[in-house]
Symmetry: C2
């Protein structure tokens, strides 16, 4: 078996290119990186465990892509421009074919988002990956969860529910009758949403100053929107000495942007859980003042990203799902977001 240093030389060092002559990538105790002036650093971290965050059968290429992608999605939600990422890779064995596929996946996302691998550690053990990524925002311009305002429009990028339905496809949990109604293209699109999520990092910098709050839908739409409301409420409590406004949200289910496969699934099963609580979507949920909507639409067109209004921030506590303008029965929406335990 190759020694760790061969592993690093062969597979990982080529991914640390793009650093300047004053910077140091892989090969020392740590990386040395220059920092842009008048910027703050954003740091995010996410761990993926085999069999928990991706099915056993997932390809090495997809595992590598996803481990980085979920972090870039968090950077995007903060409005950050990419800086670099470190990889803690725990592997059961030193399978060269697996490593080759893994390195290809890393290379693909590293090059697509122009974010170098700056360091890492490879260890022996059950397959687990922790990526820590950093990015940059101009001072005081990070987009926070806590910035929502009453009256804000709530929007999401692209479609919701594909990651969760993709997991059902991967695990062959779908009813056979329904499964046969999906085209091969639809199934592939669902699996791609699960295994090869594309973080909304391209538009992140343009969202700064335009949206009031953002989060990525990794835990599920209701749970993540709940995080925005919770953080916003906390901030209000801190700021206000007296009367406290409790923020809530109204979501119009008909407005939720769905892929054809997810739409078919809901029509047949009436099960909204992949959309409302599925998670694993890596789309952004944004809130913004409605006067900024035209500008947001311009950005969406410029980058070819679909952005859809799905509701608004209201003064009434809690998240209220509406259909045809009327509240939806609680049992439909009594789905909580992904809990890590």
């Amino acid at each position: 078996m190759a020694l760790e240093f061969d592993l690093i030389e062969t597979y990982f060092k080529p991914l640390s290119q793009g650093l300047s002559i004053e910077e140091v990538g892989i090969g020392d105790d740590g990386a040395v990186l220059s920092v842009p002036e008048n910027h703050q650093m954003v740091v995010v971290t996410d761990t993926l465990v085999c069999g928990v965050h991706f099915p056993l059968e997932t390809s090495a290429y997809d595992i590598a892509w996803k481990a980085v992608a979920v972090n870039l999605s968090d950077l995007a939600a903060m409005g950050a421009s990419p800086g670099g990422y470190s990889l803690g890779l725990t592997l059961p064995d030193n399978d060269q074919a697996w490593l080759k596929g893994f390195a290809s996946g890393l290379r693909a996302i590293t090059e697509q988002f122009k974010i170098p691998l700056i360091g890492g550690d490879t260890t022996k053990g059950p397959l687990t990956l922790t990526v820590t990524a950093h990015g940059w925002v101009p001072n005081q311009q990070a987009i926070l969860r806590s910035g929502a305002q009453v009256g804000d429009l709530i929007c999401v990028t692209e479609t919701v529910g594909d990651g969760a339905l993709g997991l059902k496809v991967a695990l062959e949990q779908l009813d056979k009758g329904f499964s046969s109604e999906l085209s091969e293209i639809e199934k592939q699109a669902l699996l791609s949403a699960l295994n090869h999520p594309v973080p909304q990092l391209a538009i992140a910098a343009d969202l700064r100053g335009l949206v009031n709050s953002a989060i990525d839908i990794s835990d599920g739409l209701l749970a993540d929107l709940g995080h925005i409301l919770e953080q916003t409420n906390r901030k209000q409590h801190k700021l206000s000495a007296g009367l406290v406004l409790e923020f809530g949200a109204e979501i119009e289910l008909e407005q939720l942007p769905l892929s054809s496969a997810v739409e078919k699934y809901i029509t047949q099963t009436h099960d909204w859980s992949p959309v409302l609580s599925g998670g694993d979507d890596y789309q952004l949920c944004l809130t913004l003042n409605k006067q900024n909507w035209p500008q947001l639409q311009k950005i969406a067109q410029q980058y070819g990203v679909r952005i859809t209004q799905i509701g608004r921030v209201v003064e009434q506590k809690g998240i209220h799902c509406l259909m045809s303008g009327k509240p939806v029965a609680d049992e439909l929406i009594k789905t909580t977001g992904y809990s890590h335990f």
Copy 2:
């Protein structure tokens, strides 16, 4: 079981104190951190796997301490001042007593080295920890492995071999006869070196500009000194168009600073492997111009850290171990450093 957000609130959020009002710690998609002017960022990462990097029986307190300590040791080797750290924690279950102990260990090292926890991710799976830490160095002042010069003195901090011998104590691998010769205090000191290593971060900033190269002895003295020589040789190859100098090192075994327990062990077994290739020591191996030796001694006294000369960088390729000035038989030193596979 408590949900992940309760875990974070109860155990981890209190460790992100010390951030300024312009900064954001735990609770958003990522942390937002201000950066000191005219500084570069140093980023390090290390993964610990239960049963590989620490015995199963290790206490939660010690696991937490060590996961952070090994990273601070890497920051120290770069001459960095502490910035913050992220934790990717994979846990088999949500054991409140374990988590309480774990949080105490994190708190202890967080407070001792004044480095806040800035983010993390907790997931379910086999016990694995990845810490990514960052620190700061004034522009172009990071201490690199590649800076050694022929004629440099080679030094180490404190004593060498205690971590590796501590592992033999923990795993009850020591010969009973020998084991009975160790006092309780000696055994505890060995276990402490293994489970509660104290990174040499306090003196790190003072080493900048004073030493030519540094590395921490986590993979074993010979292997890590080898990394210094390898990186230095690479740099020389890049810099020189023509004649290339191959750097090597001479180490005088009698000069190696040993604890009483390690000294007893070598006297009885003639086994130098814990000292030369054991690793897990988290002491620094430094090379410096001999004219800087008095200043280094001053710093050592100021911080109460023992620093010992053990050899010098020479023009002869390879690492040559000497005893009474004579080369030591190869079989004694044919011990390679810790390999992660």
